[in-house]
Amino acid sequence: MPPIEPLPDSVPVLIAGGGPVGLALAALLARHGVASLVAEADAGYCTGSRAICISRRSQEILSWAGAGAALAAKALPWTGGRSYWRDAEVLRFQMPNEPSQRFAPMVNIQQYHVEEFIHQALQASPQLAQVAWSARVAQVAPQADGVDVAIETASGRSTVRAQYLVACDGGRSTVREQLGLQLEGTQYDGRYVIVDIVQKTRRPVERLAWFDPPSNPGSTILMHRQPDDVWRIDYQLRDDEDGVEALKPENILPRVQSHLRMIGEHEPWEMLWASMYNAKCLTLPAYRHGRVLFAGDAAHLVPIFGVRGLNSGLDDAANLAWKLARVLAQDAGDALLDTYSAERVQAARENIAYGAKSTEFMAPPDFAFRLMREATLRLALDEPAVRSLINPRQSAPVAYTGSALNGPQVGEWVDAAAAPGQPAPEALLAGPQGAFHLTQCFGTAFTCLVFGDGPLPQAVAALANHGIGVLDIPPEADALGQARERYGLPDAAATGLVLVRPDGYVMGRWRGLDARPLLDCLRGRGWKL
């Protein structure tokens, strides 16, 4: 990638780290009209598949980043999976999914493709989003009204003054180290080798797991299909195996070959990449330190088994982008950034708890978890009721329960799915240009959903003057009744307003069609309207 020379003297937002989270943040900021500079130490995209499972919510966020079409064209959708113990199937699961959904619950794609797609989308806003490759953050010096960041490039070291620095520089974050901050939590000892191989297959796209398979006795194996005829294979090492030896091709190839033969995949194959990990449950206690913010793996590390690593990092970016934009535009005080930390730390703790549950099964941490897993796997042959214990517990967006940003819920609402702090539910609607999904309307501004019974009241339409998108959803637009049902209107004739944040979370909901409480809600949270 051609370097940016020279680097600018100053920038509103400096993003340390040009992985998928850093690049997505730059794209989302650009959508809000905020300029940023991404400093990435490597010369290009990552190598190896790394984070491969992209959740439904992440697909929404990547659409806001401009990478939606490229992702949909390349990634492989899946809806379920199977688990085996020895040579018997013990679990078959399906994630919630139905034809009217906008996205599959999960799609598989290599991380380098995700980075590439977002980077390409950034080319549409070259004045706003700049990416400096081969640019390494060397020093971070917070100041009263900004952060001085020393960056090393091929031509030497220069300092960029940023109003805000966002650390998206991964598990071994330099920014974290520079500020003397430590991740807190625990790690699991169980190690997994992860391998990408290229091999043609006719198998459907689903998550496959084997416990104690004849091909690799005593081990646990996971397989995920990826684009370009790539398989991702994860297998657990024994506690007594040497990590360095385990990554040598002569030790990887036979184990992979043995398993491929067992499952009947006989096409020629070759290995592309291998790495190793152990599950971590770690987070910073706060993601805001003055003018420095943390997102993605720089802020938290969660076990791979819960599939919430990259997915939660993208959620961090979506939560932060609109808040940073508001603060930089001086539409809101910078205390708004504290809500980023509060909401996303809470989310990380929930994601860690889910990840820990998955890890207890995939890499049992002691004799007790090992014993009960063995009991569960054998019992599962005859007892359907215990199979849920084998379920890997998929990613779902976290609700911001108790957040200071949550507004009120006024009047009778009969479903909690769209309560303040919840992710705004999806609905398929009918519009003048055809069918569209409700979530297509989120991502930039606040949106007021109008469940009305006739012409739009003038005061509600006037919300647009405050930069609030107004989406009228008359019964004929709510063709399948999904919106009224999922947003909790008691009946087809009920009226109400729902205020949705730019990141697609519900801020408040009010029965009736009075616009004033919405404005009061925003003013009460520091908005200048």
Binding site: L371, A375, V386
Partner: protein
Amino acid sequence: MTDADLDLGYTALCKSLGEVGQERSELLLAMVCLALMARCADAGDVLPLIERARDRCLQEPPRGG
């Protein structure tokens, strides 16, 4: 469960444990325990049982001491 049925279950468990042998006894007990747990109505039925048994076990001196 009647006393007579409890007797039947008890004896069946002992005999099965004897058949599988001491080394596999933990696994058998874990399987039976999990199967019975799955038949209870909710965690409220189960968690107090586990807690009481744990407390009793912790009162036992460790073997070989």
